[in-house]
């Protein structure tokens, strides 16, 4: 009973604290202030009172309360800048623009109050980049898309104020729709434990039934006649009644078989093993002063069983810091430094280039090749043009709070790196309006008129700007993927193109992200003509996208090649090594990223997820069910042709249409393959009936990359894996966009990095470097799993051994529910005599030390297949327990049966028998744990031998005559001998 109470109270307190914390944080969020427009006046109210249809005012740096339709803002054209880090993990600013009818209202409250437009929009959904609705205002319909919508979770930046109409609130917001379900995570061992406890209960029932039947028969044959010495109780009318009573008596006696204290012990062990993670100096990241942290203390042993790791890319594998590393301008490669002998210089020996000639340079920027600076200073025409194009062709925002201190807000870190590079070399992008770009070129301020931005998208893979220079020339600058730009080049630069492509391949093979830069000078007439067509295309309502892109193509041709930029997305320290080790441990890594495909693939190669020796990397990028199915099947045909045949066991199994949940066994491919799939095709694959195809194909590959993923898709992939494979999944990420996946996976790991705290707060374990994952899994996880398994098998064993002795004794005491041991021993056995040694083992044991577990990652595999504790192991424990209890009962019985001491006094009495059995039992279980313990620390010695010694001390105390004299009814046993 005591253990049960302890278990319940511990669990209750823990849950209560958790609930209280959650309640407090909910309260805090609900009571945040917001400005609501009520009766023509702004009124402060609480977040929780915001309703659909309200008009609210948001100010700079405020978070957006709900999904709102932008009406107007302080900026020209009602632009509003927002940061979406919490939604998609991207740290750059994005621009939203209100439609013109509403932007005219500006901040005139009387107009806003009178605003009576009607919005019809789609039902709440989780698609972050899609929204369609129609605003009916003053009898006219206006089309609304996601560019007009400010989503909850964004933060207003660089905008003094804006007004918006609330469209979705609370759980309907896209943020909440994406957040995934928050469920209590339980480990497989937990489930197994519950099942086993149920089994034990059933077993207990059966044993008690057998004994009760035995009692009935005995009462009939013997007990009835023995009534001269022991009459039956008055309420026992027949042996059947007696048997029913005995059933319950045995239920009470044998209840020690159901290990109630198991749950407490398991909690303690997990807590201890979590603390080790918090305490590990080797998982402490000094630059950020952050130790690793186990936020959940109930998942430890699963760390030793992980089979699939789902990783975010940006900020997890990489540092999310882009560095301008190399460039090739007009056929000359800059960036590598050579010493006098023509040898490449390593980073540590390199000298940074001095940018002191440029007052606006970013001090953090470093570059090592002096020849480029010299070229800039010399005034090389091509180099100047190259950097000019970098400083003009982008969508970066600049902020200059202090004179000369420029801060760039870039759509993508790549762009930021390029503009920063241009800035340092003397082409400083200073500010922009919607019509002009101001650049300080080598100290001189020049104002460019921004004529058109031909924006970037996935298909075009390039962006261009058309500007009018101060010299009144019209220039088009373009940057984009090499494959695309090469096609658009003017034939005259084909030889330059060949040289540049060589450089580009060099850079790409080093894992650098490359972009090609080109320009074109347009004549006035052509531009005017094109501009007209462009405006038409912009205003068209049907096929706007395709018409625009065809217009773009008209001008983006006959480009003159300038050069190539190469940007390094620096991997975190030790990432490739970690991935190699994880691969050796047969852990499959899937990279789920919101990034574009090229970047993701580059990183995959540089961090060893994909190897050059791979047999093939499949790319799935279909746009409909059939294509995707075909692509997946082609891939599988290469990897394991027989898996497509009807005779394949899995196919046969699937044709039987098994009910969920069913499990797909592991399939082995005939080589080393990789798979790349993008979010768009994944949407089909996940939502259609292709998920099994996808899963089977992907699971055969050694490495998988999913790019362009929405947060929810990340979670869906994890869920898919959990649904059909009985494996432990781990998700690791750093941004708010990883939260749903972190929540969905069995284990969520948050990297505390650049992108805020969301991921960390929702994770089970956090640390600051991806490389610590190997320590978390291979060292801590492995130990935790081994310890937990050893603990469970020993714990069940010791309880069976202890309890089943009563069962054997029943056959010799008329099934009368007589116990073998004395009451005090029964009370102390689980709580005192045997609890510490097993806890000690499960907190300190190490089967191999950390060096070996990292050196031989193969040691991790047994955990993935759950070999150390499963139903089979449990049955072994049970058998072992039955055998031990058998020996523990029958050997003392044989020895004491009708035995006497050498002075003639008989010792076949109940007390002697009890003492012999219980002392043997203590010895046996202690020796068992001593044999199981492989790592003998001082503590192990103290707890193991101490417990044994303590048993003997307790025995001397409990069986002393002082206690017996004082409480004759409580302490009935008495040491037999005393010196006379």
């Amino acid at each position: 009973m005591t253990p049960l109470m302890v278990v319940l109270s511990i669990t209750a307190v823990k849950d209560a604290i958790d609930d209280l914390k959650r309640h407090q944080s909910d309260d805090r969020v609900n009571n945040l202030p917001v400005l609501l427009l009520v009766n023509g006046k702004m009124k402060e109210d609480k977040w929780m009172n915001v309703q659909v249809g309200d008009i609210i005012k948001l100010e700079n740096n405020q978070p957006v309360v709900a999904d709102i339709l932008l009406l107007s803002s302080s900026e020209p054209y009602s632009l509003t800048y927002i940061e979406t880090a919490d939604l998609d993990g991207e740290t750059n600013l994005k621009v939203k623009q209100a439609i013109s009818v509403t932007s005219d209202m500006e901040d005139r409250l009387e107009l806003l109050s009178a605003f009576n437009g009607e919005v019809r929009c789609e039902a709440p959904n989780n698609k972050l980049d899609r929204f369609s609705g129609i605003l009916t205002y003053k009898g006219k319909n206006y089309f609304l898309d996601h560019d007009k919508l400010l989503l909850r979770g964004c933060i207003i930046r660089n905008t003094d104020w804006c007004y918006g109409l609330v469209i979705y609130t609370g759980p309907d917001t896209k943020l909440m729709q994406n957040s995934g379900k928050s469920t209590v995570k339980r480990t497989q061992i937990d489930h197994l434990m519950n099942v086993l406890v149920l089994w034990i209960f059933l077993g207990l029932g059966i044993i008690c039934f057998v004994l009760a039947v035995g009692h009935g028969i005995w009462q009939n044959k013997k007990g009835y006649h023995f009534q001269i010495f022991l009459p039956w109780e008055k309420y026992v009318s027949s042996s059947a009644v007696s048997a029913i009573l005995i059933f319950w008596s045995y239920f009470i006696i044998l209840n020690t078989m159901v290990p109630i204290s198991l749950y407490v012990s398991v909690e303690i062990i997990r807590l201890g093993n979590s603390l080790y993670i918090n305490w590990d100096r080797k998982m402490f990241y000094a630059p950020r002063n952050t130790p690793a942290q186990a936020r959940t203390t109930t998942l430890n042993e699963e760390l030793g069983q992980v089979k699939y790791v789902f990783s975010d890319k940006t900020g997890t594998l990489t540092q999310n810091i882009m560095i301008f590393n190399k460039c090739s301008i007009n056929g000359k490669l800059y960036g590598d430094t050579y010493d006098k002998d023509g040898q490449r210089v390593t980073v540590s020996e390199k000298e940074k280039v001095d940018f002191s000639y440029n007052k606006l340079a970013d001090p953090k920027f470093s570059f090592y090749d002096k020849t480029l600076v010299e070229a800039v200073k010399k005034g090389d025409h091509w180099v100047h043009l190259f950097f000019r194009s970098l400083s003009l062709c982008h969508t970066v925002m600049s902020e200059e709070k202090v004179e000369g201190m420029l801060v760039y807000q870039a759509q993508s870190p790549d762009e930021g790196a390029l503009v920063t590079a241009a800035r340092n070399f003397g082409f400083v992008f200073r500010s922009r309006t919607s019509e002009t770009v101001i650049v300080v070129e080598m100290g001189k301020t020049r104002v460019y008129q921004l004529l058109t931005i031909l924006d970037f998208n996935n298909v075009r893979k390039r962006m261009s700007v058309i500007v009018r220079t101060p010299e009144d020339r019209i220039m088009l600058f373009c940057k984009g993927a090499d494959t695309i730009i090469c096609e658009l080049l003017h034939p005259s630069c084909s030889s330059l193109c060949d040289v540049t492509m060589e450089h580009l391949d060099d850079c790409a093979s080093e894992g650098l992200r490359t972009l090609m830069v080109a320009y074109r000078e347009l004549d006035e007439a052509f531009f005017q003509d094109w501009s007209k067509r462009h405006t038409e295309a912009c205003l068209s309502l049907e096929n706007r996208e395709s018409r625009l892109s065809s217009v773009y193509e008209e001008v983006e041709k006959d480009l003159m090649l300038l050069g190539v930029t190469a940007i390094e997305d620096k991997l975190q320290d030790g990432v490739p090594e970690t991935i190699i080790i994880l691969k050796k441990a047969k852990i499959r890594l899937w990279v789920l990223t919101g990034d574009k495909q090229e970047t993701a693939v580059n990183i995959a190669y540089s961090c060893n997820l994909f190897e050059d020796e791979m047999d093939e990397v499949f790319v799935v990028e279909g746009r409909d069910d059939e294509t995707i199915r075909k692509e997946l099947r082609t891939a599988r045909n290469k990897m394991k042709p027989e898996s497509l045949l009807d005779s394949d066991p899995i196919n046969i199994y699937l044709t039987t249409k098994p009910e969920l949940p069913f499990e797909i066994p592991e399939e082995v491919a005939n080589g080393n393959y990789g798979l790349i799939i993008d979010g768009y095709s994944l949407a089909y694959a996940l939502e259609g009936n292709l998920e099994l195809e996808l899963l089977r194909t992907a699971c055969m590959c050694k490495g998988v990359i999913c790019c362009r993923m929405t947060p929810l898709q990340k979670a869906q992939v994890v869920e898919l894996m959990k649904r059909y494979k009985k494996v432990v999944t781990l998700a690791v990420g750093d941004g708010a966009n990883d939260v749903s996946m972190i929540k969905a996976a069995h284990i969520g790991v948050g990297i505390s990095g650049q992108e805020g705290l969301q991921a960390m707060l929702n994770s089970d374990f956090t640390f600051s470097q991806f490389q610590y994952l190997q320590r978390l899994l291979l060292v801590h996880g492995r130990w935790s799993y081994n310890r937990m398994c050893k603990f469970l098998s020993y714990f069940f064993y010791k309880n069976f051994t202890f309890t089943l002795v009563h069962f054997w004794y029943a056959f010799f005491n008329g099934f009368s529910a007589q116990t073998v041991y004395e009451t005090w021993f029964i009370t102390c056995y689980n709580l005192v005599y045997t609890s510490l040694p097993v806890l000690g083992m499960s907190l300190f044991d190490q089967d191999v030390n950390e060096t070996w577990s990292l050196l031989f990652p193969e040691l991790y595999e047994p955990g993935q297949h759950n070999l150390y504790f499963n139903k089979k192991e449990f049955v072994k424990c049970l058998m072992h327990g039955i055998y031990s209890s058998f020996v523990l009962f029958f050997v003392p019985m044989g020895t004491l049966y009708n035995a006497e001491r050498n002075d003639g006094k008989d010792i076949s009495d109940y007390q002697s028998f009890s003492l012999v059995v219980q002392t043997s039992l203590i010895w046996v279980v202690t020796i068992q744990i001593a044999l199981k313990t492989t790592y003998w620390t001082m503590i192990s010695h103290v707890v193991i031998w101490g417990s044994l010694g303590f048993y003997f001390c307790m025995s001397f105390l409990l069986y002393s005559d002082g206690l017996c004299l004082a409480f004759p009814d409580v302490f009935q046993f008495l040491a037999p001998e005393k010196k006379e």
Binding site: K222, H225, F226, I228, F229, L230, E233, S249, L275, Y276, N278, W279, D280, R281, F284, A286, P287, N289, T290, P291, F812, N813, G814, S816, Q818, F844, Q846, M893, G894, T895, L896, Y897, N898, A899, E900, R901, N902, G904, D906, S908, D909, Y910, F913, S914, T934, W936, T937, I939, S940, D961, C964, L965, P968, D969, Q972, L974, P976, E977, K978, E980
Partner: protein, 344 residues
């Protein structure tokens, strides 16, 4: 490495052996040599112990005379509870072919008597038996009070069912002369039983002390009248009583009844010859299909003639040796395999 802001204390975890899981420790390496050594020594030890124990046990002598059936008329008489006051004696002659040397112990042995039933074992009052409060009968159900509501002393099922046959051993020197073999009725109990657990109430006159109580229903005489010859062997301190009160663990058990007083004729033990047992047959066993017998036994350093422990040791030793030979064979086989593997 970036410079850390000075005002923030470092959160670097302590570098203690416990927290870094680097406690000094030694590992158990079960090499084949060590394991085989342990197995062989354990085997030798067990075999030796087994052989010694078996030889010792075989050096003892024991005879057992089952008198359930032999005294059939008495058994029949006792079947009917109403005949409790009718005395029945029975004499059983037996022949001792060889002499029994050394200390001889006489036991009575009961078969099928369940002293270990849950309710039976608990049905006693330790407070009463200690002489502290002779009216404490709470734990004694179903023998707490007599019909006229006076407490039973000694109360409880154990006391009530006390073995009450009298056994007298006679040596027939020839057909007419019989000598009573002298038996000691003291030193039969555990020391702590006699001096701690069982105490008479302090008064000198036991009969006074036990006034206001009733004898157990099965008893012919009250507790203070058990031994008429030796007044000190009366009340709760009666050796037979104490021996009986120590409940046996199994339904077949024997309890010490007397020790041979080695004087005169019996100074070396029991000489060979004809003997007879004179039994006053009071204890009813046939009613619950039990049996009873008298056991005469000599002892050695390790107790009586039970071979079990010796056999258990021998078997264990033998199995350990078998196992160690098997392991050695496997070890050598694998070693050769490994060697040949390396030679290739």
């Amino acid at each position: 490495m970036e410079e850390r802001p000075q005002h923030r204390p470092s959160r670097l975890p302590d570098n203690s052996a416990l927290k870094q899981q680097e406690l000094p420790a030694h590992r158990l390496y079960f090499t084949a040599r060590r394991v085989l050594f342990v197995f062989f020594t354990t085997g030798i030890f067990s075999l030796c112990m087994g052989i010694i124990l078996i030889l010792s046990a075989r050096s003892t002598q024991e005879i057992e005379i089952n008198y359930t059936r032999i005294c059939a008329n008495c058994a029949k008489l006792r079947e009917n509870a109403s005949n409790f006051d009718k005395e029945c004696t029975c004499s059983i002659p037996f022949n001792l072919s060889g002499k029994m040397m050394g200390n001889i112990y006489m036991y009575y042995k009961l078969y099928g008597f369940y002293q270990n039933l849950y309710r039976y074992v608990r049905s006693r009052s330790n407070r009463q038996l200690m002489g502290k409060d002779i009216k404490a009968v709470d734990d004694c159900a179903p023998f707490k009070m007599s019909d006229n509501k006076t407490p039973i002393v000694p109360c409880g099922a154990i006391a009530n069912s006390m073995f009450n046959d009298t056994i007298i051993l006679l040596h027939n020197i020839n057909s007419s002369v019989q000598i009573k073999v002298p038996m000691l009725k003291s030193g039969l109990t555990w020391w702590t039983d006699k001096y701690v657990k069982f105490q008479n109430p302090s008064s000198k006159n036991l009969a006074d002390e036990f006034r206001g109580t009733t004898k157990p229903p099965n008893w012919p005489k009250p507790i203070y009248d058990l031994d008429k010859k030796d007044p000190r062997n009366n009340g709760f301190l009666n050796d037979d009583f104490i021996v009986w009160m120590r409940a046996a663990a199994f339904p077949t058990f024997k309890k010490l009844y007397g020790r041979l007083n080695r004087t005169h004729h019996f100074i070396e033990g029991l000489p060979a010859g004809n003997y007879s047992l004179n039994i006053t047959y009071n204890f009813p066993v046939t009613r619950f299909h039990g049996e009873k017998s008298v056991v005469l036994s000599t002892l050695t350093w390790c107790g009586g003639n039970s071979l079990f422990l010796g056999l258990a040791y021998t078997v264990t030793g033998a199995i350990t040796w078998l196992a160690s030979f098997a392991m050695m064979a496997i070890h050598i086989m694998l070693k050769n395999k490994k060697m040949s593997f390396f030679h290739q």
